[in-house]
Symmetry: C2
Subunit: 145 residues, 2 copies
Amino acid sequence: MSTTRSRGRPRNTQADAEILDAALALLRDGGYRALALDEVARRAGTAKSSIYRRWPSKAALAAEIIRRVMPPLDDAADHSATLRAFDELLNGPLGNVVASLIGEAQESVETRAIVVSLIAPFRERFDEVGAEQLMGAILFRRLLG
Amino acid sequence: MSTTRSRGRPRNTQADAEILDAALALLRDGGYRALALDEVARRAGTAKSSIYRRWPSKAALAAEIIRRVMPPLDDAADHSATLRAFDELLNGPLGNVVASLIGEAQESVETRAIVVSLIAPFRERFDEVGAEQLMGAILFRRLLG
């Protein structure tokens, strides 16, 4: 059993990497709309069920990719740096994907939880008013600018 | 010709009112998702094509309803009153519909234009920074709170 598992693990890790690579390419080329799991599975050479086993939804898969390319947050006391990183999250190469997720979050509680968790590392560096006003300004510009 | 038109106009106005009433009831009961134009047409006793003739999309119809129930904006210099009205727009009885429209606006340029026009009366009362920070704080809380 343990032999099977230790053999299987690298293969799974490799499959995960191929799924993430394929999904990232689709997101970069066509945004969140382009993230078709059939196409991810085809490109990654895996079954769609393997994707769902690891990521329960398209939103979960997209969020993991965004988290991996997210700018690092080092100095918690540097609010300007945090805001620049949040701006990069919303307006960087996958910013349109983040906006789509926020959009979907208005209709789906699952996606809302995913998005709230995605921005939690930024939000927790501010007090409530700071988060709402400073991050809200960036959000407002992204969504309604 | 002009006789036909003057007879026709009240009937159209009446039909419009029935469409708006039916749509408002659906939005209040089930949010933006519940706004099915087949059902609006059925309840208003009209054809779906009559709805589309007047409002080119569900978003346009929803925005007109929101605009009609929107709190009045009187004193342009009273920024607190403007923010309270914006808060009411996002968190009042149809706030979830506004949030859904903002969500849809991330995928549709038509809906984006509708939403931007819906919030324009609020936004133009602030300078850019004020709009983004103050209205952004309310938006942030609504969408990600």
